[in-house]
Symmetry: C2
Subunit: 313 residues, 2 copies
């Protein structure tokens, strides 16, 4: 479905088999992580032994897709859990660690899988549960980015991380696990508005402002919340969750999952970056910090959004 969407032709690899040749969806997600990291290393013409660390995570309990997927690469591994904000969290933590001057090359890898997520968070797929209009479809995908401390000839066209802001956990008071856009929008608005205020910049100073996976409804809410705080967008705001699938693919409110922003950035944006008029881009990685148990125990769903500034090198 991801490869049939509007960005399908940009992705490095796609498969018609959502099991990737293995026996379970969880193993498929593991395989996806292993192959994606492999692909990133090959494209950069380096080997995994040159990686000083890999930061990664996914949505499975205990983040096993990433740990089992990174294991064959034999890399120093740091597990993250930021729900769907994990890609931005990894870039933010990785870039900060890079500035210590103790590391040369690092990696960030995140994944999600519709079928492994559905049966863990909601219902077994075999049950055929009807999904409400506010629901989003978890992206089956994986994105990996390599971080270099210094610009060299080899990575001279690389995108630079020039700033960021670690998100606060914002309680949205939303209790509906099928309404994640609404649960994450307040956190995204909180982080963006605080960043613009502190950096004394306006939304129009950026060629593109991206949110990770708010979906159609969440993106509207986010725009409204920002407007209430006095920050307005022109047509430079896009939610990655509205870009992965087409209207015809009938995914209700859009796409979601760790891989949503990761495949948008790594699989698409990084490829059009040089030819598009993009100089400064903001990415707000959005995450909903719920678990099936916190939903059963009637807690509201806290949201978080980490921001990074990407600039043309």
């Amino acid at each position: 479905m991801e490869s049939e969407g509007p960005l399908g032709t940009y992705f490095d690899f796609s498969s018609a088999d959502d099991l990737f040749g293995v026996e379970t969806w969880e193993n498929a997600e593991t395989e996806l992580v292993r192959q994606t990291l492999d692909c990133a290393l090959k494209k950069a013409q380096i080997t995994s032994s040159q990686l000083d660390f890999v930061l990664g995570g996914d949505l499975l309990n205990q983040c096993t897709a990433t740990s089992y997927g990174c294991m064959p690469h034999n890399v120093p591994y740091l597990g993250l859990y930021g729900a769907c904000s994990t890609f931005a969290e990894g870039l933010l933590v990785g870039a900060s660690m890079m500035e210590s001057a103790r590391f040369e090359t690092g990696g960030v890898v995140v994944s999600s899988h519709f079928s492994s997520a559905e049966r863990q968070y909601r219902f077994p797929l075999e049950y055929g549960c009807q999904r409400p209009p506010t629901s989003q479809r978890t992206v089956t995908g994986c994105g990996a980015a390599l971080l270099h401390a210094k610009k060299t000839q080899k990575c001279k066209d690389a995108i630079c991380i020039t700033g960021g802001r670690i998100g606060l956990i914002v309680d949205s008071k939303v209790k509906d696990a099928n309404h994640m856009g609404a649960a994450m929008a307040p956190a995204a608005a909180d982080t963006l508005c605080a960043f613009l205020h502190e950096s004394k910049t306006a939304a129009r100073d950026y060629d593109l402002i991206l949110t990770g996976d708010l979906g159609k409804i969440g993106a509207e809410l986010f725009t409204e919340l920002c407007a209430q705080k006095g920050f307005f967008f022109s047509d430079n705001y896009v939610d990655c969750g509205t870009q992965i699938f087409s209207e015809q693919q009938d995914v209700h409110a859009g796409a979601s999952g760790c891989a949503c922003s990761a495949i948008y950035i790594c699989g698409y944006l990084s490829k059009i970056w040089r030819n598009a008029p993009l100089f400064r881009v903001l990415l707000l990685g959005t995450g909903a910090l719920l678990s099936p148990l916190t939903v059963q125990q009637k807690h509201s769903i806290p949201g978080i959004a980490h921001l990074i500034v990407l600039e043309r090198g």
Copy 2:
């Protein structure tokens, strides 16, 4: 049980009620995180608004104890998942981020709870399942450390993080989720031996070498594995998992959980540090990267161990 153990009198706070006055064990763990961070801030005489970030995690699915427990503090939050190695991972990531000179003060908080872990990873407590001799008891506890980028008058007696090593994921080939010490020992030996080799130091150069939660059996295995690689300990090696409970408390192979090394370091070691002949200490945070699902799907249990060097300031 933790307060009745050999280190019980050192802890800042203990409670006879494992529900901490709330309704579920998961909420109790959340409350534990909230209170522990509060306690650390009060002891340092700072407020949560002075924290540039908090790195944290726990064993619950989607690490909800830490995220819900940090939420009321309104702090920039970065979620980690390193299983029982999360405390060492947090110190390692935090110390590296601190070196970027972009942060002044950060926090690391990790928790575990016997009852919330048991019902998630193994069996409902009400079932009264018999535990095998290799099993360990998850520590109900929480530890928090504050990181300062610079030594000031206020933290002049603080312990310094002077080095570290990010662990590789090592497949132990162990498939028994009740034999975690054996699953983690190879990773701990791998990290320690690589570190000693690269730093050209010997085990005797350190006043104390700590592993996180290998337990009695795992600690023996670890000692053997290190000896096979040519590294020998005198009496300067201690596993935190053998220190929390006494022999009489009948916890089989010892203690485990994220909180095991955290309460040993924060609750005990930091307090005796000044009066004990401790100058250089190595902590190997050990973690088993399994999930209940990977065990059901017959995968072996990968281990990881992150190392940090702690020195008298």
